[in-house]
């Protein structure tokens, strides 16, 4: 067998290798087309139709769905709420995660213990833990408000009032994502060469703050950029807590993008209209990724 392979003319051997490569990649290519490319194409197409599940035909309506979206108060509310949620969760969870990572990195003894504790929410079933948070947030019997009452502060009806529901959901979102970000920061911190700190000290960076500003922060920049992008994307995708705890309520105060799409498409079965919403959702993700590449590119040029 070995001798046959080595005696084959090079062109034939190449063709054989190419054929094997196609065979090995074939299942992946077929499935990629079937479950990613085709549906993505279909969702864009469906966005131009008035297709509703349960009704036979559909017709192309051009940009009608998009025109309707612009005037749709629920959709606009949903975009706004998603933006507010993202604007709260992303910065806080990043700053907290970085702070915790720095503290843990400097810690000598209980390092592993703290890492485990802060990471625990990432490994916990979010729907289940959301249920626990609902109890914690309960207006009358919840521990949070009982605690606040002990301090003489009247606690709000966290998830039940339109003024506070997004904050409540954001707290859960932060609690759930800090551990993930922290682990990425810890990996970024260990990758910084120790010599840089020594060099900075020689150059006169005496205080810890100086060393952070001169070494840690710039060296951590790629990690920070990455964590920021992934945090924003995950926040834009918030769904589980909303579906489990509030169903978009009260009064659409916690209506978020994926929940609205879910509601329109899979509950009211207005597939065409929900597809147009999905296209907007997809466009947001594409823009975010594009921005990340742009920033990354610039970093490379300056370096």
């Amino acid at each position: 067998m070995a001798s046959i392979v080595s005696e084959m003319p090079i062109a034939a051997a190449d063709r054989r290798e190419a054929r094997i490569a196609w065979l090995l990649a074939a299942p992946a290519i077929v499935l990629l087309f079937l479950f990613i490319l085709l549906p993505t194409f279909a969702v864009v197409l469906l966005g131009f139709t008035d297709f509703e599940l349960g009704y036979g035909g559909f017709r192309f309506v051009g940009l009608e769905n998009y025109a309707e979206l612009i005037g749709d108060r629920t959709f606009r509310r949903s975009l706004w709420n998603t933006a507010v949620y993202t604007a709260i969760v992303t910065p806080i969870s990043i700053v907290l995660a970085l702070a915790i990572a720095l503290l843990i990195e400097a810690e000598t003894r209980a390092k592993a213990f703290f890492r485990t504790v802060y990471f625990l929410p990432v490994a916990s079933l979010l729907v289940a833990m959301a249920t626990v948070w609902q109890f914690l947030f309960h207006p009358s019997i919840g521990p949070i408000n009982t605690f606040l009452a002990g301090l003489g502060i009247p606690g709000p009806n966290w998830l039940g009032a339109s003024g506070t529901v997004l904050y409540g959901l954001s707290i859960i979102g932060i609690w759930q994502s800090v551990g993930f970000n922290m682990v990425l920061f810890l990996a970024g911190l260990t990758a910084i060469p120790r010599e840089l700190y020594a060099a900075a000290e020689v150059d006169g960076a005496k205080s810890r703050l100086d060393r952070f500003r001169l070494v840690t922060w710039p060296m951590l920049a790629p990690t920070t950029l990455f964590v920021t992008t992934i945090s924003i994307i995950n926040s834009v995708k918030v769904f589980e807590t909303v579906k489990t705890l509030t169903e978009g309520g009260p009064n659409k105060a916690s209506e978020v993008l994926l929940f609205t799409i879910y509601q329109e498409g899979f509950v009211y079965l207005r597939v065409g209209y929900a597809s147009a919403m999905t296209v907007v959702f997809l466009a947001i993700l594409v823009v975010l990724m594009f921005l990340q590449y742009r920033v990354l590119d610039r970093k490379v040029h300056y370096a």
């Binding site: 992946a28 929410p121 490994a123 879910y262 997809l282």
Partner: protein, 277 residues
């Protein structure tokens, strides 16, 4: 200097402990409330140890309303099926792209990068319509099929396979090994760290996923843990928090236990997949 240092250390330790307490609070209250009787929960005391131990009562309730073994079993079956198919599909493809003379490798790379952008939420509507037409809603097929292809797995393995020395593969070829043999006996054993990392990433993602099961499953029989808990909440009219906490405890436990046992691998896995993703 030493006094300063120790003050810093105490401050650091206190901050970390305080934060840890806040992060653990939901678990503490979950365990505590799961053992309290309804009347005690409504007395809204902050005491953590139940006056009367009602663990048995609450757990019996939790177990009788929704079939927990079915839920957990479904979770295991679906996650296992997804992971196995993903691996079997992605590894040969990544190998072809990394190590063989494969003309389409460039194009595949572009498709993979595009695929990374598209989450299940974006493809859910057409897939739902198609599955409805094919009458495969409410089945393991519906739960597993869309995740059979993981472009992320291809992406991750590709980077790993590129680092495997070509000589190793040439040597295997000269020994008369077929390309599939090389994948199974040379490439896979060398890629264990990537495979474990991906396993953890995949299982955590699909064990926790609510969106897709919610879309394709309406029959309790095929409910995964998150969906089952949603049913349990719906069936649990009113605020029977004792039983609810017992149910959340049962459902959260398996993955948390797995994490605590293999936490080093978990953290490594999430770091590796996180940074590459």
């Amino acid at each position: 200097m030493t006094a300063n240092l120790s003050f810093g250390r105490i401050l650091r330790f206190t901050l970390l402990s305080l934060g840890a307490l806040i992060f653990l609070a939901p678990y503490i209250f979950m365990i505590s409330t799961a053992g309290k009787a309804q009347s005690e929960i409504f007395s809204s005391s902050l005491s953590l140890i139940p006056e009367q131990w009602s663990y048995v009562e609450n757990f019996t309730k939790a177990l009788s309303r929704v079939s927990m073994p079915t839920l957990l079993m479904n979770g295991v079956i679906v996650c296992a099926m997804i992971f196995v198919v993903q691996i079997v599909v992605a590894i040969p493809c990544a190998y072809a792209m990394a190590k063989l003379k494969f003309r389409a490798a460039r194009l595949m790379m572009v498709l993979v990068m595009l695929g990374l952008l598209v989450p299940i939420h974006a493809t859910a509507l057409p897939l739902y319509v198609a599955f409805d037409r094919l009458a495969v809603l409410n089945s393991y097929t519906a739960l597993v099929a869309p995740f059979s292809i993981s472009v992320f797995a291809i992406f991750l393995f590709l980077q790993f396979f590129r680092a495997i020395p070509d000589d190793l593969i040439h040597a295997a070829r000269l020994d008369g090994m077929s390309e599939t043999g090389i994948v199974a006996r040379v490439v896979v054993p060398n890629a264990w760290p990537a495979i474990t990392a991906f396993a953890i990433f995949s299982v955590v993602a699909h064990w926790n996923d609510l969106f897709w099961p919610l879309v394709v499953v309406t029959n309790q029989h095929y409910a995964t843990p998150p969906l089952g808990l949603l049913y349990f909440r719906a069936a649990e009219a009113g605020d029977d928090y004792g039983a609810l906490m017992a149910a959340t405890l049962i459902i959260t436990f398996p993955l948390v236990a797995a994490f605590l046992v293999a936490q080093k691998r978990f953290v490594e896995g999430i770091t590796m997949t996180g940074l590459k993703g």
